[in-house]
């Protein structure tokens, strides 16, 4: 017998209607692709036409990377900081290899923290991310100053503040993406 129509809904994924509703598996492609693609898109935000007088745009790739790492430990392998960082270097304007090194060091730092402080809440994760963001941005400036003449670290303060304040939003986005990723 057909169930009565109580609300008008668009038939999403009509093919699934005839599948079993029990014991569904989330798609492996989606499970893998969503974290990877979201971090890469975060790195590519710099290609949008945003012109700032000083470095102001938060490093969304790094924020996304840290959010995934802190929200889902064990999802990103320990070595993943290197490929994601090198991808970020293509778009960031930093000397090639700078984010590859810094993101990997950030990943190893979180790995060490994970072995010490196992049960953490969101505020502690935010604190860890804040310290890592500040360290990565200052480290990026230091690396840029090895290669070229570089400005004083004071110009980074607004960017560091903005990145730290935007981190919870990025965690929210990650959480939404995560529930979509694991939806069956």
């Amino acid at each position: 017998m057909k169930s009565p129509v109580t609300a008008i809904r668009l038939p999403l994924r009509p093919g699934r209607e005839y599948e079993s509703r029990f014991d569904r598996e989330p798609s492996t492609l989606k499970m893998l692709a969503i974290p990877i693609a979201s971090i890469m898109f975060g790195s590519m935000v710099t290609t949008l036409p945003v012109f700032t007088a000083q470095p102001l745009l938060p490093p969304f790739g790094l924020l996304m990377f840290l959010a995934w790492r802190l929200m889902r430990p064990g999802l990103l392998p320990v070595w993943s900081g290197v490929p994601f960082g090198l991808f970020d270097d293509i778009f960031s304007g930093q000397p090639f290899g700078s984010a590859g090194l810094l993101w990997s060091l950030a990943m190893l730092t979180v790995e060490i923290i994970d072995s010490r402080a196992i049960w953490r809440d969101h505020l502690q994760d935010w604190l860890i991310a804040s310290l890592l963001i500040a360290a990565a941005l200052l480290g990026g400036l230091w690396i840029a100053s090895l290669a070229h003449a570089a400005p004083s670290p004071v110009v980074l303060l607004p960017q560091i503040m903005l990145s730290i304040l935007l981190y919870p939003l990025v965690v929210r986005i990650c959480a939404r993406l995560d529930s979509w990723r694991l939806a069956t």
Binding site: T46, T47, T52, G74, D114
Partner: protein
Amino acid sequence: MAPPPHRRPGFSRKAQYSLFATYVIAIAGTVVAALLLVVSIADPAGFAALRAAGAEVTAPVARFFNSVRRTSRDIGGNLSAYFDAASKNAALTKEVAASRTKLIEARALRVENARLRGLLKLQEETAEQVVVARLISSTASSTRRIATLSVGSNYGVERAQPVRGPSGLIGRVIESGPTTARVLLVTDAENLVPVMRASDGLPAFSTGLGNGLVVIKPLNLGESPFKVGDIIVTSGNGGLYQPNIPFARVIRKTNDGALARPLADPANTPYAMVMRAYQGEARTAQQSIAPDGAVQEVVE
């Protein structure tokens, strides 16, 4: 969330070894990244092909959003133009009348200038433009101030060509890809521009501060001769930038120079003109002796 208990994978040798291997790969990868960094610091143009490929892939998106941004801004400007049309018309009429006499004087001066140059047998080298293009994105999250230009070597854009906008100098090309090029803005700390004061030709150098301002340092030591409001133009020394391109306006006097704000704002410039290097032949000769990358600039 607590980490999954992968740290102690039980008695399985395979699991223990694979856990160990991930750490080995992580540390080896970090070392590889550090080596790549050393290579790119030693040879800044080394990974230009990779960056150009990245810029090429994302250029269509950047072009699209740039045109959206431009159109939305134009709509606002057009709407507001209707409201003060009458008063603006009156002001402009007055301005045209005032500038007509100035224009005639300037024309006479140009004729006289050409005659004097002819007398002196000075060869005039004009820096002609290569192409007119747009800035489509910038490295807004890095301390380096680099913008992406919407054209590349397909329109003859090459390394070390000056880029200017209608209101002033923007920077110079440092990398050129097939359809995009990267422009080092004058506000970057590495961009050194030979400039002079427009009123009396006082020679100086400009260095970017990385925060939207430039520092102007006169060649002569001593107390800063600048005043707030001085207009700085390029001097043409070094043969890269054409002389008399509007450059910056002094906003604060310091002990040994001045802080100035560049006249061209990359965010608001309607177009960017790529020019041929002023006195290109002399510069080529100089480059063959001491190329740009080989000479280290002194870091202050």
